[in-house]
């Protein structure tokens, strides 16, 4: 609005009050007008009042929303689960260590074949591994550093990645030794800030992206066309996850505005939003049935949100855990929640009872990414210590 005023030695009738006075140029709704100093002040006052009243209205509505949600809060989740048998001791060990990245591992994803893994790093390299043998099958160097996002295509024939280049690019995977992987690169998504997360939808044809520019977007891979954009976060979006295919076309995103938002992919509308974390949400993951999702945050907690009760139903935290959770994923049944933390550990939580059932050590720096394999037999964690570990 009035973000530019500059003194011009102009004397004449004010555009607002018509009085003959020294005038200043002001910009209102992109139109340049000449106001006297009194009228300039009045416009400023009015703007501030409007902002204040909008903020008030927002606070009132938030209060109303909380009231409505509280009406459904008749029991706690762990009370519902009182009779469920407690879990015994878990023995999980690192079974494979994938070494080869020259710098921090930032992201990883499993292939549907349950054995291949794609990972991306701060050094700009994206590597495809066979996790059974630990062999590297493909490697490509991106033109940018900090490749913060990578994903495997459902067919297993391509990977997508991006980061500080503000783009999401798709590389078809070929076993032809003569082919240069980088030559077949296809730029699909363009954001105005870094790419933080990407995921193929149910096919190789569409990609969903999240960005530091505060938006998420759905793209057609073949044409690079923007199919839908999702506006609503008030700051960088850091993560996203697609709902399991049976539950329909929605996805959840988390951001630096401490909000987790659930979106309708077709309309671009936000369906539900949750703001209970005290800091950035680094990771969101749907519960296997699609009726809930978990989040991991810099506030050192992980939380479970029930979509049909429309509220947070569990917090996974301990006084001794003070470092942020960077990534979360569920075991196959949804009973266990694996969470990687900035204090180099992985904590395993009993989703129903809210207690921690195991803690895994091994990484020598922050755990930055963690995914359970598609058939639930193992989970892979990537770290700033340059390695990935597959544990079971």
């Amino acid at each position: 609005m009035c973000d530019q005023t500059f003194l011009a030695v102009v004397f004449g009738p004010c555009d607002k009050c018509s009085k003959e006075k020294p005038l200043r140029a002001v910009y209102i709704k992109s139109e340049q007008l000449s106001y006297c100093s009194l009228c300039v002040e009045m416009v400023w006052l009015h703007e501030n009042e409007t902002l204040a009243s909008l903020k008030n209205e927002a606070e009132t509505l938030k209060g109303k929303l909380e009231e409505e949600r509280a009406k459904l809060h008749d029991v706690e989740l762990h009370q519902v689960a009182e009779r469920v048998e407690a879990l015994g001791q878990f023995v999980m060990k690192t079974r494979r260590t994938l070494k080869g990245h020259g710098n921090k591992v930032l992201c990883m994803d499993w292939c549907k074949d349950k054995r291949r893994i794609v990972s991306s790093s701060q050094d700009g390299k994206v590597i495809v591994w066979d996790s059974f043998t630990t062999n590297k099958e493909h490697a490509v160097t991106m033109p940018c550093t900090w490749v913060m996002a990578c994903a495997y295509a459902p067919s297993g024939c391509a990977i997508a990645c991006g980061g500080l280049d503000n783009k999401c690019s798709v590389y078809p995977l070929t076993f032809d030794k003569n082919e240069n992987m980088a030559a077949k690169k296809k730029s699909v998504a363009m954001h105005t800030n870094y790419l933080s997360a990407c995921s193929f939808t149910n096919s190789d044809m569409q990609i969903l992206t999240a960005s530091g520019d505060g938006t998420c977007a759905l793209w057609d891979v073949e044409s690079g066309q923007l199919l839908q954009s999702f506006h609503g976060h008030g700051a960088d979006v850091l993560c996203l996850d697609l709902a399991p295919s049976e539950t329909g076309n929605t996805f959840v995103s988390g951001g630096c505005d401490k909000k987790a938002m659930v979106w309708d992919m077709r309309s671009g509308q936000c369906i539900q939003s949750f703001e209970t974390h005290d800091s950035d949400i680094n990771s969101v993951r749907y519960y296997p049935s699609g009726d809930a999702f978990a989040s991991g945050s810099d506030d050192a907690t992980c939380r479970l949100y029930d979509l049909r009760a429309d509220r947070e139903v569990a917090i996974y935290s301990k006084e001794s855990i003070i470092f942020g959770a960077s990534s979360v994923d569920f075991s196959l049944s949804g009973r266990l929640l694996f969470a990687g933390y900035n204090d180099y550990t992985i904590n395993v939580w009993d989703v129903l009872k809210g207690s921690r059932v195991s803690i895994l050590f091994g990484h020598e720096n922050r755990v930055s990414t963690l995914r359970v394999s598609p058939d639930g037999t193992a989970f892979c964690s990537g770290s700033w210590d340059h390695t990935l570990r597959v544990s079971a």
Binding site: M1, E47, T50, L51, L54, K55, E57, A58, L61, K62, L65, E68, K71, L72, H73, D74, V75, E76, L77, V80, V84, L87, M92, R95, R96, F132, T133, T134, D213, H231, G232, C270, I271, Q272, S273, Y287, P288, S289, D291, A292, D306, R308, A309, D310, R311, V313, S331, L332, S333, G334, R335, V351, L352, V372, D375, G376, T377, A378, V390, A392
Partner: protein, 67 residues
């Protein structure tokens, strides 16, 4: 995003107005369904119940791994 503070607030307000009207269910009901889902799938969850060494491809097979 290139939106003014006012535009961002208006967007947030519109969103809140919509969300207040969402349908919701009691946690006693939805929590029970979460628990029942887990119980129905728990038998097939390898990380939960463990898998015999010889069946899981990630467990050590003994001896050296030559890659």
């Amino acid at each position: 995003q290139d939106m003014t503070e006012k535009e961002l607030l208006k967007m947030e307000l519109d969103q809140l107005k919509k969300e207040v009207k969402n349908e919701r269910q009691m946690i006693s009901k939805t929590g029970k369904e979460l628990k029942e889902y887990i119980e129905s799938m728990a038998g097939e969850d390898p990380l939960l119940k463990g898998v015999p060494e010889d069946k899981n491809p990630f467990k050590e097979k003994g001896g050296c791994m030559i890659s």
